[in-house]
Symmetry: C2
Subunit: 490 residues, 2 copies
């Protein structure tokens, strides 16, 4: 079998007889990262060409809720009286033992306010309101929401909490509204956009410099010269079963129970193209997963237990962190235990596994090992009565003994509840968007952003709503500037 059987392997410059298209900067993928990259590259004076596999732009950004994770004292944060600093935001981004990127966290925190202003200048609307209740997505057009683990242990031990989810001003999902403004700016920029034109492979010269892209259009190959640089911004790989098997077997083996969240082109082609040119693909086993078990927020007073009747997480964490922990429980079996005082139906349609008049009966109905749930609740209630949770440190605001019959168990188990996931691994990059090898050398002419890169989005345990779009737009801009500033190879 020839290696050419894998179309994402790089082609040599000598193999290109002539260029069909040419630009200073060629951007692979027209979503949030690609759009921001194009805007900045054109502003820097570069001629820009965007190649998009789909019939139109938008990618996962346009499909998203329209949150951007921003802070450090943005206009809406100040307007609602939230105190936030770049330092607190940085410390928050650096929390966790899942290997935060120190350099990216630093610049992302330091320039977060400026990024917000940049979006405002593009015309992206944000209100000065906050949705204070615990929710996955504010139903109204309020800008701010607590979209991560800021108030939860252990994050609240290292950084002063602040709401940093900034939603574009629109009721409900607002990704499309964000895209209206990003795409308008791209169209006004003079960048050329070729849709229905999937990129296939990079073109590399004999020194390893990336000099172009091979794309496909109406069934024929196009050789696209990138005089200054190529920006890879074509999304993650949640739709690619081969790559899931290679890197995230725990999801691959349970795909029947997990919705692959993304668009059909999330095939990892940019990651594969970049890796073929020598960039390291890192953290490829990491993913975001969630199961939106709240609102109602009152369920946070409940406790989550596994098939052993054990708690496993502080229930006041962001839904993604909770779901990440739930996904790792034996057989994915997880119940939310609520008493009469806090029970409510989740908006997303969960099933009641059981409701009983006593904890003992509930334990039996759920087929949990005898006395386990009783002991777990006994320990929990005893401490909760004093406003304490020495096991998981759920915030005192969410602590009260669960002792009012009847008791209910909502089924949050894999296969019963709506789990959705996407991938977080990608190419190793500098904050500038330059791609790096395993050992840290740059690949000349090759840049990456968004879900093609490993960014501030790291793992199920630390992800926050707004980090994907925040990271994509923020580092997309930087990748576009870097590519535009690269010396042309010819």
């Amino acid at each position: 079998m020839s290696s050419q059987a894998d179309p994402s392997r790089p082609r040599s410059l000598e193999s290109v007889a002539n260029w069909d298209l040419e630009a200073d900067v060629v951007i692979v993928g027209y979503g949030g990262a690609g759009a921001c990259s194009a805007i900045e590259a054109t502003r820097a004076g570069a001629e820009v060409l965007i190649l998009e596999a789909a019939g139109g732009g938008g990618g996962c950004t346009a499909m998203s809720g329209g949150h951007l994770y921003l802070g450090g004292g943005t206009r809406p944060q100040k307007a609602v009286g939230l105190e936030d600093t770049a330092e607190d935001m940085y410390r928050y981004l650096m929390a966790g033992d899942d290997g935060p990127d120190q350099a990216k966290s630093r610049v992302y925190a330091d320039e977060s306010v400026a990024h917000f202003e940049w979006l405002v200048e593009l015309g992206v609307p944000f209100t000065d309101a906050i949705w204070e209740e615990r929710h996955t997505l504010q139903p109204d057009d309020a800008c701010l929401i607590w979209s991560g683990n800021e108030k939860a242990y252990p994050f609240n031990q290292v950084a002063r909490p602040a709401a940093r989810g900034h939603k574009v001003a629109r009721e409900g999902e607002a990704g499309a509204e964000l895209w209206v403004h990003l795409s308008a700016a791209v169209e006004a920029s003079g960048a050329r956009i070729e849709c229905d034109t999937p990129a296939r492979a990079l073109v590399v010269d004999s020194d390893g410099r990336v000099v172009g892209v091979i794309a496909s259009q109406q069934g024929r190959e196009l050789a696209v010269c990138a005089r200054r640089g190529v920006v890879l911004s074509s999304g993650g790989f949640i739709m690619n079963r081969d790559m899931l098997r290679n890197h995230i077997p725990s999801i691959h083996q349970r795909l029947e129970h997990v919705e692959q969240h993304g668009n059909p082109h999330d095939q990892g082609v940019g990651i594969r193209m970049g890796a073929g040119a020598g960039a390291a693909a890192i953290r490829m086993g990491e993913y975001f997963i969630t199961v939106p078990w709240y609102p109602p927020a009152s369920l946070t007073y409940g406790i989550l237990v596994n098939a052993r009747g054990q708690r496993f997480v502080n229930e006041d964490c962001y839904h993604g962190r909770v779901a990440g922990a739930a996904f790792e429980q034996p057989e994915g079996k997880v119940y939310l235990i609520a008493d009469d005082s806090c029970f409510g139906w989740p908006e997303m349609g969960f099933e009641l596994a059981a409701t009983e008049g006593s904890v003992e009966e509930l334990e039996r109905a759920l087929e949990l090992p005898a006395t386990t749930l009783q002991h777990t609740l006994s320990v929990y209630n005893q401490h909760a009565a004093r406003g304490e949770d020495p096991l998981f440190h759920k915030h005192p605001n969410w602590l009260k003994p669960l002792d009012q019959a009847p008791f209910a168990a909502l089924d949050c188990s894999l296969g019963r509840a709506p789990y959705i996931a996407f991938t977080l691994g990608g190419l190793r990059t500098l904050p500038s968007g330059e791609t790096l090898t395993e050992q840290g050398s740059a690949i000349p002419g090759l840049f990456a952003a968004g879900a093609n890169a490993s960014g501030i989005t790291r793992s199920a345990g630390t992800y926050c709503s707004g980090q994907s779009v925040g990271d994509a737009t923020f580092f997309g801009r930087r990748a576009g500037r870097s590519a535009a500033a690269s010396a042309p190879w010819r």
Copy 2:
């Protein structure tokens, strides 16, 4: 910065002015995989050249305990009356949700007896004895030992248990003895061995076929032509901090508490070279970790609890599976709780965290949340008295109530107990040793084995003693045969 700054990037065939050395099959790394590859390639009629970075061969195989994970009815298994079949071994290898390689597991189980016989024919000695007690390494020269999770839940639910750890006949560590025989066979084979000659990069022709290796010898570069194929067999990357940061942040961030188990050349160079040529590096976040908390086996009657006073694993699992679970507990804090009837000092030097006259006092001494350990022991004892462990399914043989004061807690925490780790991720390969891209195309001329490949060794949760050396020698042979059988490119 030029990409040539990273020396593991592939070189083009055109960049090679002349070849300094030449062979049919060039093997990068002279450990267990490389040796077995060389033996088989020479037997197939190929001219073989081995490049080794160190001053001599052996690699991690020679440093190992000398276990090979084999089964399906080997001579020693039959001699001691153990019934095992290839089917049971296959089912065992396929257990777990960590993405076993179906094709490799199949051939490894089916040809395991033949591999044992092949080693015997090489002169590798094995007794027909078994060490029956629970131990990490049989102190005598007995061949067989229970070296995995065969008797533990959930593995014992899917396959009839059999001892499959086969140690070379020598008291204590036997890797050096194995190496004596492997290296003698290589030397007799006529393969040429160049030590102190680290490989740097692959040479690739314009079609992507691997045609040679660039190595370094006494400070100067050697161009080594591989007429038929290159076999990468140069070990894992536990000594490479860049790669650990890129792929296993949980270990990278805690290296002060984890011994990097391997030899100084475990820098992942083979993985990097292979990835540069287009092979997918997969499961790169997976690792083996252990903390040898037994013998004495009697400690298995104890329970392991985390800082929340919760159990988290069936304690009769293999030490690596236990340690993998322990490593993921909050702050790595783990105690082995024993009563007077089962306490014993581990051979490896653990500290006593506390010893008290009652469980309540022990709980307080360990600063566990009030009543947690009491509840955990209450649940455990109540079920253990009936020979049951409905939470974790520890085997009834290891169940008895822990109720005889005094009670002791051995400190198995990270930073207190001796954790050691090595990497398990590597290049994607077929059972033949052919390397594959993400999407499953073969890289012509490129083969990998041992810790350069992702093999039957998968994760902390399923690893067994003897799988590294078993996999390396078994698939090393196949890679050598495949390389020798490849059509020469010139």
